[in-house]
Symmetry: C2
Subunit: 252 residues, 2 copies
């Protein structure tokens, strides 16, 4: 099975969303769990409401009001748009946030040098909930709003949710995680979309990193990929939604 992560930019615009969902449905009968972002919708809403957004290293610091906007944007608009678009193509889907059936339990990130506010880090994924849906031919569509055991909604990084889901599912079946970016894969030349590296293993990664050949923005994505693989995920594909079966395959 696949765990596919798409960014919020793909959901913002109805035409783009329909193209993406068409590609996903084009995967045929292979079961998949979809994890989506929604940052651009949340940012836009905050801007319209005049709610100042504070970011740190590209991540959103989430005060109480920003959490409300994130819940509305991710768990509401983004999630239901994706589910409705899948349904319209005949793919039964079920939108879920972490609180639903306790599917993704997290805890609030402790205050350190930064107080992230209502930001969650994932503790566990209930793979039974996801398997039950998949067994019925239903595609789980997960927003990155998770929930603590105490019932606190928390804003969580979608890449981290996707990784936790892939790792949890890998305990019971062969999992490929597909992390969709706005590039067709890991590029040898960041300005040349034709320069996709087809496969990277740990040895090649270390070598390329040593030679300064990996674009710095890609390093956290690749580290996340290798950590999934270390935890039992068969392979991680880094690609865009136009190339769900190609891109760069990250393997052990």
């Amino acid at each position: 099975m696949k765990v596919i992560k798409i960014g919020g930019k793909l959901i913002e615009n109805q035409a783009t969303l329909e193209r993406v969902v068409g590609a996903l449905v084009g995967l045929g009968n292979e079961p998949f769990v979809l994890v989506h972002g929604g940052g651009t919708l949340a940012t836009q809403l905050a801007k319209e409401l005049g709610v100042e957004q504070r970011m740190h290293e590209g991540r959103r610091i989430t005060d109480a009001r920003t959490l409300e906007l994130a819940v509305m944007a991710y768990a509401g608009l983004a999630n239901k748009r994706v589910v409705a678009a899948l349904s319209s193509l005949g793919k039964r889907a079920c939108g879920l946030s972490g609180c639903d059936m306790g599917v993704v339990v997290s805890h609030r990130r402790p205050v350190g040098a930064i107080d992230w506010g209502f930001v969650g880090d994932v503790d566990s994924v209930d793979a039974d909930v996801l398997s039950d849906l998949l067994d019925k031919g239903i595609c789980p569509v997960l927003s990155p709003i998770t929930c603590s055991l105490g019932g606190e909604l928390l804003n969580t990084n979608a890449d981290s949710v996707a990784a936790a889901v892939a790792i949890a599912m890998a305990d019971r079946t062969e999992v490929e995680a597909v992390m969709c970016l706005d590039k067709p894969g890991v590029l040898l030349d960041v300005d040349d979309p034709e320069s996709v590296i087809p496969q990277i293993d740990r040895a090649l990664y270390e070598q390329m990193k040593g030679e300064g050949k990996i674009f710095s923005g890609m390093i956290p994505k690749l580290d996340n990929a290798f950590s999934m693989i270390a935890s039992g995920v068969k392979a991680v594909r880094i690609t865009d939604t136009d190339h769900l079966d190609s891109g760069t395959l990250i393997v052990k």
Copy 2:
């Protein structure tokens, strides 16, 4: 089993929500489906964004932008707040909108004297989806955002969704619908909360209506109740969340 409908006012404020959810969990092991509104959250959001709201006979005319706000407020914030609050009391719940697993299919209301915009009227409820969850001890929590077969999200009246759910479930089991208002039941004297009429059947209703003893705002609620009963629902209780087992019982 029970189908319980609560209004949006009860979700707006965290303290009120916790009280309501406490009362629901106090029902013990009896399974229930919860249907909630969210109008006050949507109205507040629209006000903050300066999106003008047009109402007709107390119902919201829903243009494209208002639909987005409704999806965010109902399917996002209201739905996840209720699910998280139930979870925090140990009640497993699953938030759903109509698009999720196709649980509530609707169609866009045809343009007549009024163009309601993206407002849906319910066609069908998939009782299997709800029964599957209830059988697992999971409480389905339904927002009034429904979905057409073509994948169009539609804003739907929560009372109508609750009625459709109660009727669909009544095909397979004994159903009591509990419609929670801000009054403890149907009152003989609208200013005296002690004047709750314990039971109303069709004959008494017609008699009281004839005598002008039914407060006009209650007539659509009672008509809705009798139409549920005519479609197989065992009884409808009109009450508030502090009196889930008392209030006014509407019977055949």
